[in-house]
Symmetry: C2
Subunit: 109 residues, 2 copies
């Protein structure tokens, strides 16, 4: 039975995996790309650009928000999203930290 074994791992491993999971879909990468390219926040424009239904895009946005990778603010009847650069830098740092141990002295393979 696929019981949840994820909790058996350390917090750092879980956090990194969680963050990676948020990036694990081309639609969410595409959303981030759009947000990065526009200096100002966007909302339903993302729906126009992506080949997905509005409800699906909304769900992807929610996942990115939950992972802390984007920030969403309500602006009248519309929502405004933008990238949380601090979270990205943290991700990058954690990522590098974990694998910067023996990069130089690789003995095999």
């Amino acid at each position: 039975m696929a019981l949840n074994k994820k909790q058996s791992f350390g917090k750092k491993e879980q956090d990194l995996a969680e963050c990676s999971k948020a990036l694990a879909h081309p639609a969410r990468i595409a959303i981030l790309k759009v947000l990065a390219q526009h200096n100002e926040c966007i909302c339903g424009e993302i729906v126009d650009v992506l080949p997905l239904a509005q409800s699906t895009v909304s769900q992807h946005l929610k996942e990115l928000k939950n992972a802390g990778l984007i920030i969403g603010t309500i602006d009248g009847p519309r929502s405004c999203y933008c990238i949380n650069w601090k979270a990205f830098e943290k991700f990058n740092r954690e990522f590098s930290f974990l694998f910067n141990h023996l990069k130089t002295e690789q003995a095999c393979c």
Copy 2:
């Protein structure tokens, strides 16, 4: 129906997502950590360290291998894995490239 819409996105988005997906489980992060810490390749030692069955670990290793993040060579009756640093560097480069556009001039949120 959850038809595969992933193919509707660009190759770069798909590749990045694919790579991220490989990192999207704490077990696989843990495996990579073990491989990074040991200068030499490992195999069933990973099974001893992780709280998972042998078959499950084997499956995770396969996914990491398919994503190109690790390299596996057969050494007699045992298998020997190690990190593919080049793939990691490529991932890091792609990742940074995608989000290094407007990091500095953030106007909102």
